[in-house]
Amino acid sequence: MQWINLFRANLRKEYLEMKRYLPNTIALVLTFYFIFLGLFGVIHFFGDPSTQDANIQFVIVNYIFWFLALSVIQMFGFEIVNEAIRGTLEQLSMSPMGIWRILSTRLIASTIIYGIIIFVLLIITMLTAGQWLNIDILSIFPIFVLTVFGMYGVGLMVGGLAIVYKQIQAFLQILQFLLAGLTFIPLAASPFMYFLPFVIGVDLVRDIMIGGQTLIDIGWLPLTILFINAFVYFIAGLLFFNYCERMAMKKGLLGQY
């Protein structure tokens, strides 16, 4: 029950702040709309050779994937830095729920809000373009959830760094490029890839969208590996975050920016 109330409070706060910072929100929505429209325009322009179509669809799904993963990774860090600037970080740390729980519900809330915005925009774009994507949502969704869960572990690590160092913007920028790079490397390139976050998920989505596979074709093994990968990242992230929080308490950094 406490979790639910915590989640509802943070969902409401996210919604209210999006409403109060309306220009930002509108800019975000428009950006998505135009990017989607542009991607569809490319499909339209090149006509409709079947292979290209699959590629474009993959690019769109990958883009959404990449955006959500990135926002999950960055949000923890951004929120912590923002709260520190506003001076409310200490207030949050005094809640018996703990910072990581509060920020986690905020993260889930904003992922849901973004998810809805993106979903609606995609449909609107498809309407405007008169082009319909043929996406196997049922297969992609579980992979998506697991991948984001792993990214969330990475996000916790970034949050831990933010709580101690505060100035992490430059680092986040680099991370963004690294992540974009990971999108293009196939899993088969090296067994080492299995240890990275994000790569397994993207690879499975590629199998589904370009290889035309379903979850059943993929089978249990890759999904289990994906799950273990995500889970390990989550646990490691949580441990690291708590370690950093304690360090910040030792050095008196919670109230500082």
Binding site: N5, A9, Y21, E90, I102
Partner: protein, 324 residues
């Protein structure tokens, strides 16, 4: 009396970012806070009040020592101990400026796992009490500093915890708003059974609201005493003698030699000598000096002493005999 907070041997130092210089902010601090008590944490700038409060709130981790909140060690079982504590920290940056008054209250209650419905009545009550009802839908960045401070206190009240900590609740407010906040604090004391710790360097606030005071100076506790006793203690030893003849220079010297902190003034009809005595018997030493010239005494009064004078004396190191 039930101990709500136990502080033992608390030490905390900071390392400055650039110079790496170590600052001992709190040294071996120990005191208890009892159920239902209003404790004033008093001390000059940089004494270590905020550091002590943040240590109690679990925002800082001590170098050594221990704090127990209702018997729960607050570093080992931090989140559990926080269930009994809420605090208003220094300054006005502890609210969400882009949310309204009511939204702030609801949000912070939500962060403690309480639903909007559950707290609705309590919020209405608090808004009434803090006279913020007509501002409930105003964004916080539109409020005056005083209203923001009142809201911050309301947010802490809404947590419904046994212990409430307030760091400099009247700092930076104008006289009138300061008094209003003080009235609100008094009505909290009267109407809600909370254990409260207020830090301040405004002696008036402490004298007005608190039962007991812990005075810290340069990171150590120099006094831990009931406010009324503390004043009495100093009052007893502060005498004002009205003399019908002026003191000779020799007499003045003799008195200054024995009581450096004396004050001596003359007017047309009388002269007045104010002295602080370490022991009541010391008054006889004064009589001895007066006897030299057979200076007649018109009256001897215990001087009514203000709390801020007591505070100043303690901070100036005049406290050794208040501790015994």
């Amino acid at each position: 009396m039930e101990k709500i907070i136990e502080i033992n041997n608390l030490t905390k130092s900071y390392r400055k970012r650039k110079s790496k210089e170590v600052i001992q902010a709190v040294k071996n601090v120990a005191f208890n806070v009892y159920k239902g008590e209003i404790l004033g944490l008093l001390g000059p700038n940089g004494a270590g009040k905020t550091t002590t409060i943040k240590l109690i709130c679990g925002l800082l981790y001590p170098d050594s020592g221990e704090i127990k909140i209702k018997g729960i060690p607050n570093t080992v079982r931090r989140l559990e101990s926080l269930q009994h504590i809420s605090a208003v920290l220094e300054g006005n940056r502890n609210l969400y400026w882009r949310l309204t008054v009511r939204e702030n209250l609801e949000y912070f209650a939500g962060n403690r796992g309480r639903s909007r419905k559950e707290v609705k009545k309590e919020i209405d009550e608090l808004l009434q009490m803090f006279r913020l009802k007509d501002k409930e839908n105003e964004l916080v960045n539109r409020l005056s500093r005083g209203m923001q401070q009142k809201l911050a206190i309301a947010v802490a009240m809404l947590a419904n915890t046994e212990v409430l900590l307030l760091d400099e609740p009247t700092l930076g407010l104008d006289v009138q708003t300061g008094l209003e906040v003080r009235e609100i604090l008094k009505s909290i004391v009267k109407n809600y059974h909370r254990t409260i710790i207020i830090s301040s360097h405004d002696m008036d606030v402490i004298q007005d609201i608190c039962n007991r005071t812990v005075i810290i100076n340069q990171g150590t506790v120099v006094i831990d005493q009931r406010v009324d006793e503390l004043i009495k203690l100093f009052e007893v030893r502060s005498y004002r003698l009205t003399l019908t003849e002026p003191l000779s220079l020799d007499q003045q010297k003799a008195i200054s030699a024995r009581f450096p902190a004396n004050e001596y003034v003359e007017d047309q009809a009388h002269s007045y000598l104010t002295v602080q005595l370490e022991k009541s018997e010391d008054i006889y030493q004064i009589f001895q000096v007066l006897q030299l010239n057979r200076t007649p005494i018109d009256s001897i009064d215990r001087k009514a002493i203000r709390f801020d004078e007591v505070f100043l004396k303690i901070i100036q190191g005049d406290h050794q005999y208040a501790m015994d």
